[in-house]
């Protein structure tokens, strides 16, 4: 097909846009059900210890209450079933402040909420681990093998002989995902079959985890999740709410809705761990890197380990003969950390790309030049060739578009009124992968027009999966997008990968594309004819007058993909204004230039990138969750205290994609953009703040008090 006739690559509007803006797109708890009951969770007010006594009698007598469920009467569940974060009401043990310790099920949400306050709990406290600063003095080795010390060449020891050195420590706080739609679940039992309406980034993962935890077979559980109000990783793994809704529904014999409040979100669905990262760079006077060491201390939970891999960018970004990446962990009485947008890469790139900026400053060299000078020909971590790498292209095209030449090298020299203006740059990367997925295509002929339905248990976080799959099918079948409907977000559909780790678009689109190819072949075979010019699926349906036809196919990454190193890359450019009196920072302009292979829909892609940029700006300037070390609770426990950026914090954002064709990681050449959009953003902002003021802030967020 000619490019101009293709739907892929066109920035068409979301096909589900009208449904959303008219309120017709149903999210988890929007589905109607008769005889609904409402569950409200109540939580531990200590960080470590045991429930000595729990008195639910008053709550049980409260009007409208159907059941109060605690570890004393909850059914036995399988804690190894694949849910994250525990808190399944299986024992009196408490491992973090805010752990679910029970739920009230009532006729109304309000009654359940009021009754939950009547439950009286007595605890036996144990000494808790919550003082990160103290605990980080004596961190432990991680359990995960993939986190063992990684040494290349002479490791860190090469630092001793380097002409120019940067040795600095960077800190990032706990952050939360806080999708617009808080986690919520509706559970309906029909006999031994359970339907869970629940925002899930991995439909089949949610299905198997729920089934295993509830001691059911997978086929007994159906997950319905066509629309998700964001997830950012927090709906990738599933949390207790998914099965506790089912437990409540079973115990009261009615459908149950369980929705977390915004405040409950802080300690119910994972978080981005706190990290201390030491970067040591040794270089020649000419700016050639000799050694690069990235030593990381991260917190995790006391009873389970999750560490976001902060050293991942450092592994591959620069050509350097000697390197060390090490992880140490600090188990704490907090909910288990989890995948959080750009896991490891966003926080790790803050440290790495700040340190590179510090090195450039020491060398009196443009930070873009320094990066280009250290561009690796092959993946330094494994010696594999790049399938493609666009770092230099992103830097060069971005510098031109952003007006990088207006940057003043000397910090604090660009002043307008009370404001200091600064420019910063930082790079990022994220792996490009395809995961196994299946899809069904159903074709129907009506009034000489062919209509298609795409079925796949993919998920749409709000990023546009429905739309890109319709575009993929439109091109694969040669019919207009308007004649395609996309069914996803249902475990009854063919199994698929998840919208996680930037694998969604490549896995889903390749599965649909393969199914289109297959159905075209099958229609051709069915016709029994030979064609000089191969007809499209739509032409075959019409010429053969086939009323209905369908096929199913399964897709995997190409066999050779593993022989190459495949990643998306970006370069981020920030312009900030820092008020010299108050220390308030505004990002006046931001440009992200991304090389992510084939961009299926530039409009939804741009939205996804600038969304990542906004969170990155929040990471740089506003977001921080503070724990009170005496209690283990969050002292920042609402949106009044936990600051996500507001519209006024965000200036002019722009996203550009560099032209890139790379069919090594997958046939369609899709590399994925979900994660990379946040990677490098915080460093670009922090570097711009340095350029503006001469102050290097190594501890995020950069709040006004740090710039006084």
């Amino acid at each position: 097909m000619e490019d101009s006739k293709k739907s892929i690559g066109k920035g068409i509007d979301r096909i589900d846009g009208i449904l959303k803006i008219t309120g017709k797109a149903n999210y988890a708890t929007d589905y109607p059900a008769k005889n609904m009951a409402y569950a409200v969770l109540f939580k531990s007010t200590i960080a470590a210890g045991e429930i000595k006594k729990i008195d639910t009698s008053e709550a049980e007598r409260y009007p409208g209450v159907l059941k109060v469920i605690t570890h004393e009467n909850a059914p036995k569940l399988n804690p190894e079933g694949g849910l994250r974060g525990g808190a399944l009401l299986q024992s009196p043990q408490i491992t973090f402040h805010g752990q679910h310790i029970g739920m009230v099920v009532a006729e109304t949400f309000e009654q359940a909420t009021a009754a939950a306050h009547l439950v009286k709990v007595e605890y036996t406290k144990k000494s808790e681990k919550i003082d990160f600063e103290k605990l980080a003095q004596t961190p432990e080795m991680p359990k995960g093998k993939e986190l063992a010390d990684l040494v290349r060449g002479a490791g860190k020891s090469a630092l001793d002989t380097a002409e120019v050195k940067v040795e600095e420590t960077y800190e990032t706080p706990i952050e939360h995902h806080h999708p617009m739609e808080p986690h919520s679940t509706m559970a309906i039992w029909e006999g031994e079959k359970l339907t869970l309406y629940n925002g899930s980034q991995i439909i089949n993962g949610a299905q198997s985890a729920a089934a295993a935890t509830l001691n059911l077979k997978s086929e007994q559980v159906r997950i319905v999740s066509p629309f998700i109000g964001g997830g950012f990783g927090s709906k990738g793994g599933q949390w207790a709410n998914l099965v506790l809704a089912a437990v409540a529904a079973k115990m009261v014999g009615r459908p149950v809705k369980l929705a977390l409040t915004r405040q409950q979100m802080f300690n119910s669905v994972g978080l981005r761990q706190r990290n201390i990262q030491k970067l040591s760079i040794g270089a020649t006077k000419e700016g050639k890197l000799l050694t690069l060491a990235h030593e990381i201390i991260s917190h995790t939970a006391v009873d389970s380990e999750y560490i976001e891999p902060c050293g991942d960018c450092t592994k591959i970004m620069y050509a350097v003969p000697n390197s060390l990446i090490s992880y140490r962990v600090v188990p704490m009485n907090l909910i288990l950390p989890t995948y959080t947008r750009g896991p490891g890469k966003s926080t790790g790139s803050f440290a790495l790309e700040s340190a590179m900026d510090e090195l450039a400053y020491k060398l009196n060299m443009d930070p873009i030049e320094l990066r280009i000078k250290n561009e690796p020909e092959k993946d330094p971590s494994n010696g594999k060739p790049w399938s493609s790498r666009t770092t230099v292209k992103c830097l060069q095209e971005g510098a031109k578009a952003f007006g990088w030449n207006m940057r003043k090298l000397g910090p604090g020299t660009n002043k307008v009124g009370d404001d200091f203006i600064g420019y910063g740059v930082a790079c990022g990367t994220y792996p490009a992968r395809q995961r196994e997925s299946s899809a069904i295509i159903k074709l129907k002929l009506k009034d000489r027009k062919v209509y298609a339905t795409v079925e796949i248990a993919a998920s749409d976080l709000g990023t546009g999966t429905h739309t890109i799959l319709a575009q993929t099918a439109a091109d694969g079948l040669s019919i207009p997008v308007e004649q395609i409907s996309v069914k996803l977000g249902d475990s009854d559909l063919p199994p698929a990968a998840g919208s996680v780790g930037s694998v969604g678009a490549s896995s889903f689109a390749n599965a649909v594309n393969d199914a289109c190819t297959k159905i075209t072949h099958e229609l051709l075979a069915k016709s029994g004819k030979q064609f000089f010019v191969r007809p499209t699926a739509a032409q075959l349906m019409i010429s053969e007058n086939t009323a209905e036809f369908e096929t199913r196919s399964n897709s995997k990454a190409p066999a050779d993909a593993e022989k190459f190193s495949s990643h998306s890359f970006n370069a981020n450019f920030a312009e900030v204004r820092v008020n010299g009196i108050t220390g308030m920072v505004k990002v006046t302009r931001f440009l992200a230039v991304t090389g992510a292979g084939k961009i299926l829909n530039p409009k939804t892609a741009r939205s996804q990138i600038i969304g990542g940029n906004v969170w990155g700006i929040g990471m740089a300037l506003t977001e921080e969750s503070v724990i009170d070390p005496r209690y283990g609770n969050f002292a920042t426990r609402s949106f009044a205290d936990y600051h996500v950026p507001s519209n006024l914090d965000i200036g002019n954002l722009d996203a550009m994609f560099v032209n890139e064709q790379d069919i090594i990681p997958n046939k369609m050449g899709v590399k994925g953009i979900g994660e990379v959009g946040i990677v490098g953003v915080a460093a670009a902002v922090a570097n711009a703040v340095f350029n503006a003021t001469g102050k290097r802030i190594r501890s995020l967020p950069i709040t006004p008090d740090k710039l006084l």
């Binding site: 309000e110 909420t113 009196i581 108050t582 220390g583 002292a635 507001s646 914090d649």
Partner: protein
């Protein structure tokens, strides 16, 4: 939230009588703070008396100055031509507060009655003398970055959150109040209280009293005033420090100054020492700096908010400079 009765009052007298009869009742204005507190189980009224239908919405000039109806919305007040031209500092302070959506709902009377945003006050699993007298102050030794540097006591280190009230303090406003017997007016500096031994009391209203209007005397600040707010993000954040400053100038001599600070105390902090110092002085950076230093000399920081002393000084000077520029 606990269940409550909801009644719509049709007259001031009815509202005051009904509230006076029930110690657990509360007035409902815009609801932008009370409803949050109820959802958090911090405020537990068993009866809400909706005063939204009362005719207390007028903004007008009076013989001595200006009167702002207690139920006029914050947005309408900030954008009212009388306020914009005669009380620009007030207009700016309102627009620096909350978000557009909240300002559209919030009333002037309700703005004065906002409760602290101290997160320990909101978290019912934490000790808080303001919420449960005698339970202790978790913020005193806890995370107190946002907390007071003036006038705090060991029982409470919370700050009062309003921006509007900071300008009202600088403008020497009075609060008109009706109770079941009579009307009375309260000078702004006496309206909000320091925590002392009774942090559960935010202000000097007695149960049943209804704010009917806020009155602002005529002043000579309108051409030389400013409201400067420093916060963690550019909108929808409470002040780390805010300063309302008005200068009455004759040539370059300061006849009088009206200065108040937000984000520093349990009440809008009238910078009386700075005002006193500036009286009769030449309007120069040196004098502004000395005034700020004199005022901030009385500040006493907690473990996480030492920066507020330097930030307070800078913001005071900056606000005075901006007021001078007009």
């Amino acid at each position: 939230m606990k269940p409550f009765k909801f009644i719509s009052a049709t007259s001031q007298e009815q509202a005051v009588t009904m509230l006076s009869k029930n110690a657990e009742a509360a007035y409902l204005g815009g609801g932008t703070n009370l409803l949050d507190l109820m959802k958090e189980h911090v405020a537990l009224p068993n009866e809400l008396i909706d005063i939204g239908n009362l005719k207390l919405k007028e903004i007008k000039a009076t013989t001595g100055g200006y009167s702002l109806g207690a139920l006029a919305k914050n947005t309408d007040t900030a954008n009212h031509p009388l306020v914009r031209s005669n009380l620009p500092m007030l207009s700016k302070s309102i627009l620096a507060g909350a978000s557009a959506q909240i300002r559209n709902m919030a009333t002037n009377g309700g703005n004065l009655l906002q409760r602290t945003r101290c997160s320990y006050f909101y978290d019912i699993s934490m000790p808080c003398n303001k919420r449960v007298p005698g339970s202790g102050c978790a913020a005193l030794e806890g995370f107190n970055r946002m907390h007071a540097i003036f006038g705090w006591s060991e029982h409470c280190v919370a700050v009062y959150p309003s921006d509007m009230a900071v300008a009202l303090a600088a403008l020497n406003a009075t609060v008109k109040v009706q109770n079941s017997k009579a009307e009375r007016t309260i000078a702004f500096r006496d309206f909000h209280l320091l925590p002392g031994n009774h942090p559960e009391r935010d202000n000097s209203l007695t149960h049943g009293e209804l704010i009917t209007a806020i009155e602002i005397p005529k002043n000579n600040f309108s051409t030389h005033s400013a409201y400067v707010k420093v916060r963690d993000r550019n909108s929808y954040a409470f002040a780390l420090i805010s300063v309302a400053a008005g200068l009455h100038l004759s040539g370059n001599i300061i006849q009088s100054a009206g200065i108040a600070m937000g984000g520093v105390a349990h009440k809008p902090w009238r910078a009386l020492k700075a005002e006193e110092f500036l009286k009769g002085k030449v309007a120069t950076t040196a004098n502004f700096t000395e005034a700020a230093e004199i005022e901030m000399a009385g500040a006493k920081a907690l473990s996480h908010n030492k920066f507020k002393i330097e930030m307070g000084k800078r913001t005071l000077i900056n606000a005075l400079e901006m007021a001078l520029k007009g």
